[in-house]
Symmetry: D2
Subunit: 316 residues, 4 copies
Amino acid sequence: MRTSFENKTATEDIKSLRLITAIKTPYLPDGRFDLEAYDDLVSMQIAYGAEAVIVGGTTGEGQLMSWDEHIMLIGHTVNYFGGSVKVIGNTGSNSTREAIHATEQGFAVGMHAALHINPYYGKTSLEGMVSHFESVLSMGPTIIYNVPSRTGQDIPPRAIRTLTQSANLAGVKECVGNDRVKHYTENGIVVWSGNDDECHDARWSHGATGVMSVTSNVVPGLMRKLMFGGKNPSLHAKLMPLIEWLFHEPNPIGLNTALAQLGVIRPVFRLPYVPLPLAKRVEFVNLVKEIGRENFVGEKDVRVLDDDDFILVGRY
Amino acid sequence: MRTSFENKTATEDIKSLRLITAIKTPYLPDGRFDLEAYDDLVSMQIAYGAEAVIVGGTTGEGQLMSWDEHIMLIGHTVNYFGGSVKVIGNTGSNSTREAIHATEQGFAVGMHAALHINPYYGKTSLEGMVSHFESVLSMGPTIIYNVPSRTGQDIPPRAIRTLTQSANLAGVKECVGNDRVKHYTENGIVVWSGNDDECHDARWSHGATGVMSVTSNVVPGLMRKLMFGGKNPSLHAKLMPLIEWLFHEPNPIGLNTALAQLGVIRPVFRLPYVPLPLAKRVEFVNLVKEIGRENFVGEKDVRVLDDDDFILVGRY
Amino acid sequence: MRTSFENKTATEDIKSLRLITAIKTPYLPDGRFDLEAYDDLVSMQIAYGAEAVIVGGTTGEGQLMSWDEHIMLIGHTVNYFGGSVKVIGNTGSNSTREAIHATEQGFAVGMHAALHINPYYGKTSLEGMVSHFESVLSMGPTIIYNVPSRTGQDIPPRAIRTLTQSANLAGVKECVGNDRVKHYTENGIVVWSGNDDECHDARWSHGATGVMSVTSNVVPGLMRKLMFGGKNPSLHAKLMPLIEWLFHEPNPIGLNTALAQLGVIRPVFRLPYVPLPLAKRVEFVNLVKEIGRENFVGEKDVRVLDDDDFILVGRY
Amino acid sequence: MRTSFENKTATEDIKSLRLITAIKTPYLPDGRFDLEAYDDLVSMQIAYGAEAVIVGGTTGEGQLMSWDEHIMLIGHTVNYFGGSVKVIGNTGSNSTREAIHATEQGFAVGMHAALHINPYYGKTSLEGMVSHFESVLSMGPTIIYNVPSRTGQDIPPRAIRTLTQSANLAGVKECVGNDRVKHYTENGIVVWSGNDDECHDARWSHGATGVMSVTSNVVPGLMRKLMFGGKNPSLHAKLMPLIEWLFHEPNPIGLNTALAQLGVIRPVFRLPYVPLPLAKRVEFVNLVKEIGRENFVGEKDVRVLDDDDFILVGRY
């Protein structure tokens, strides 16, 4: 689409974001979005100091959305919260066609930046990977997301170097580790850590701008402090058991379980995600007590949910 | 979707809208939306005093959009212009499922009101028609659209009477004629004329609140005057040849041809629409001269386009 | 799509079909297709002598299907019954893009012919209408469907005349009346009556090839006799009360109600269709007794269903 | 969907298939399917002795298809070739909803078996993975596909063991290696090698039933011999350079390049795939000469294509 770029967000404004939450998408019992709960989640992020949200990321289960749901959620977030928080739409796909279409639509409904993954599962050559990203880079501020443990294929630094020719490249969400983070920051490329367990060191020892966080869904204030308050090994140490708990199974299984037990979402899972088992659910309640309920989102008592409390939906 | 209704537009704010433009959707040569041209069209509507736009109405060719395009366009319009103009999404369908889904999505991306048609083509019983509307009325401010010449089935006043039980019913866009308009206004039901040729009398003699206009796409300032400036038979008479020209073939064939010749959109038609023939195109240029180029949108000279200037697209 | 035409059905084979049933689509309680019931319905049509089925016509509620459901149903019917019955896919649309896409897909999954409607609701000029049909005519054997009471626009004989230049035009399903039927047959154009009440005269007095029937869903054997057994005014008279009952409300409301009471489908309606009221449901049982249960499809006793027996679905 | 299972393929008939080709999907210059070329490719597979094709696998670029294209291609293949070759639809997805919907539709249009992948990219817990597969297993004969290098997550033998409780489980397409193959065959579980370079040993030394092959797209007769003709290390050795060439970059990049140079498909790539570079294209021509043109599909001379010969499409 030919579109007016007057309203375009400056890439520089994206580059300086420090705490970005990969926001959870909550569901109704029939599997549709629970927008009221979603709005509450986003409001809490804003209240606790998150500067941006990623809509429909892997944490937000974009991979389980139809594209119309996905774009709707981006547009909704922009409309209701776009003045208070930057909205980064995960409009990436392993299909270049889908990435092009979704990214056009995402910017059309006002998202401030796009998050783009390399073609997972299908994979491609280095040249194909670069062509894929170049197909969408011209549309607006863009963050490239590298997570080989999910995609099966690393985005090598030489691919990123090629993409820096575009003024729209805001930076990289990097999950490979802090050596890679350091490599980028030493070369003037903006990086966000994509690993909550490494983000403290990434930020304070390796030059990362900040984090794209899962953990901030549950303890946004503490993650804010971790990213803004200077080197803080004791806070990092305090959070590590929670982070390890959250990533015990592939994300967002832990997060979904946690938010349900905190009473801020209904205990509804879209398959193939299923809740953590009872023993882990008990562990979470203990973690909340140790860290302090007041540091977690929501105001209800945290509780251990029973197996029967959860609703798993395959058709929605 | 469960959604927060804090941001909901008050139905009363919809009821008072007087000049509502059923906005044209312009296209690129490959048939995708030309959002830059669209933004210009909407901006001109705002500048000339339109208070609302209908997005993806029959004039905007909602029937030729995929739903994701349609919802994207609603979200886009809300994001870029929602502070200056009310955005009414045509989220109606002859399929109740589609109407439900689109209306949920339209309100989620911030539209201020929904326009709903009765089930055209498939048709249904009176009871089915009422059930159809009741499936979407709870979602937000709603306007019912009656145009039997398109749908093959009149929405009788007794159906509307039943629907007035919902506080969300803002009113009726009525194309059956001014007797029907009068019937509704005498019974306290808000009506907009859906016929440009009748809207002057509807407004000033039969109690209509205003018009949902096609003609205002090309002469928004004159339509504003017609709806706000008091009874004005000479202005009405002056506009009638233009209105007749616009509706010589099923709308939006005339409108599309006119806007292309005014230079405000590219001469691209999505099939099954094709431009008016050359003789009619010449007529339009003469009409512009008679009414005054300054009253029409755009700043380029109006010109007669050749057959070869037009691009017709079937795949897009 | 470029496709091999070796397997293409000859247009001549379509032209000679006399009894074509616009087959009902039955549903499960959650609104998805009940393919087991569907397969039974098609099997009964074959057993009683129908030569073709229209899949996803207005009777089959194509207007309430997503396109992927629709094409799947065409493919399914071809796969399971294509050797015993001709499969005519209603791949028409008021959007030329959709008609092109669906028709390509329909022929790709093996349908023998396409049924095409003119652009209802959106409507267009005569030239636009012809362009619309020409966009799909090259793909395979095609029947044009004229039903102004649904579309709001007649397909005039001069449009059909233009389309006869294509060897793929099999003929016209005409609902305007027997004068129009006669006009076509006198001009060598194949016609099927689209009105059950007129089809006897259309066939035996005005040269129609046969009928595209709703009524044959319930009494296929009698409709076979009406179309094959020579002039038969008494059979016609015997059927008229049933036909009038079926069309008391817009089709397929009566048909859906009837098939549910005959026990051959579950009493599930996709909105905006709702069952006929109790009084009419009682009437149907009496009609079955008068005409003879043995002439109707199914083997269960016909019974009067209660309001509570019906399931109406809006989301599916 | 409730469906009649009379026509269901016996799982036993799937278990005995030895040469299964993951068939390439060819494109027209605008990116749509080239069904004529596709039909030729399938015909050649049948002529050379392939017993089944996987439609829309990773080789067939199912990940770049919309689901309606994908199901249409399955239905098409069943209709035109289902009597001569088994049609295995890759109706897997990382979204359980999509897997359910596609698998229902695939069986409805007549596919003989489904191929199911574990949730790649999004990943899930072991329990979630099993739930995912159980959501589709009841629908018909099923093959589970394990390829951690693409999915980022191994399907462990204990997951497969759980799934063997379903009579529909035909077996496993295993890419982890021949130790895993051996483990399964020793435990009575049918396995196909998913790696062309290992399939000879898998078949003749480790009990694999056969192969799901990429290489058989280009040399179906030789792959037939490799799977049916007994242990044949010299043939295996002869094929290894071709196999290594095909997998030099992520499949199907090599295959697409090869088939284009063999003249059996147009040189059209859907992004993110791009052709192999010139040096590799020259290598292929030499490989053809060494192995013998007569062993490859097609009848045109193999030739080195220029960069300009290729068409890369991002929108289609």
